[in-house]
């Protein structure tokens, strides 16, 4: 019982205050959301922490959810904003810059052992491009849903996905 109609019914009931139905939504989406955030942050602990924050925030802001729309893009949109908020912290900014500098070095001199390391390949993409690619390829979102989640125009998402795919293909040593 995980069809879109059931999910919509759970979302509707959760919006009205049903914690039981919200827990069903948590069960339904936790895997995909944690996978998305793990790819985005490249840190399992931080990703799970963010995923928890996302669900708690979604519960607290449930009145803002538009029942006429899908729950999943709304939820992933919250996760994306939480990720961006956390990124803005100066400590993380420093760590990210250092990680990026190390990554840039490894891209200039590709290590054969790194060719299949998708996490490393993803880390070279700008955050928005990575998120668009992860949603469309990794989480089975339509480009419209990804645009809704990331609050970006559809054209931008299309371009992000195309560029990200190309970069990954190049990094993984495939012909685009």
């Amino acid at each position: 019982m995980t069809g879109p109609e059931t999910e919509a019914a759970w979302a509707h009931a959760a919006r009205a205050g049903s914690a039981d139905d919200f827990s069903r939504l948590v069960r339904l989406h936790q895997q995909a959301l944690r996978a998305f955030l793990r790819r985005l942050t490249d840190n399992h602990v931080e990703a799970d922490d963010l995923a928890q924050e996302t669900f708690v925030f979604a519960w607290e802001q449930r009145q803002r959810f538009d029942a006429a729309r899908d729950f999943r893009p709304w939820l992933f949109g919250i996760a994306w904003r939480k990720y961006r908020e956390r990124q803005r912290g100066w400590r993380r900014l420093l760590a990210r810059e250092m990680a990026h500098a190390e990554m840039a070095e490894s891209v200039e001199h590709p290590d054969p052992g790194l060719r299949l390391d998708l996490a490393a390949a993803c880390a070279t993409l700008p955050a928005q491009q990575r998120a668009a690619l992860l949603l469309c390829l990794g989480c089975d979102f339509t480009q419209m849903e990804a645009a809704q989640a990331l609050a970006l125009p559809l054209g931008t998402v299309k371009s992000h996905v195309a560029r990200g795919r190309e970069t990954l293909a190049n990094f993984l040593g495939e012909t685009p």
Binding site: V26, R39, Q52, F55, L137
Partner: protein, 98 residues
Amino acid sequence: MSERNEQMAAMLAANAPGRDLAFEIAVMAKIEQRRFLRELTRNLLLAAGAALLLAFIMPQFDFSFWANALSGLAGNAVVMVTLLLAAFAAWYFRPVEG
């Protein structure tokens, strides 16, 4: 979706976390905890507000008439409360049927 896209999608989906019951419980526990704290804060604020209000308005009332009138009934009240408690205890500790 092209073969390359499918390949990439499979790679992106690889090593995805499994369904984690502990995660679900942690989320719902956090939600309950926040709800509890919010309600506790609200009730404490309401109680503090009510206490302040009472402290402000109580000196305006004169209760001496009622205090004098009811003091004669204090003995009767003790007897009544004792009887009520005894009746409640008899009902509460009644033997279980069957």
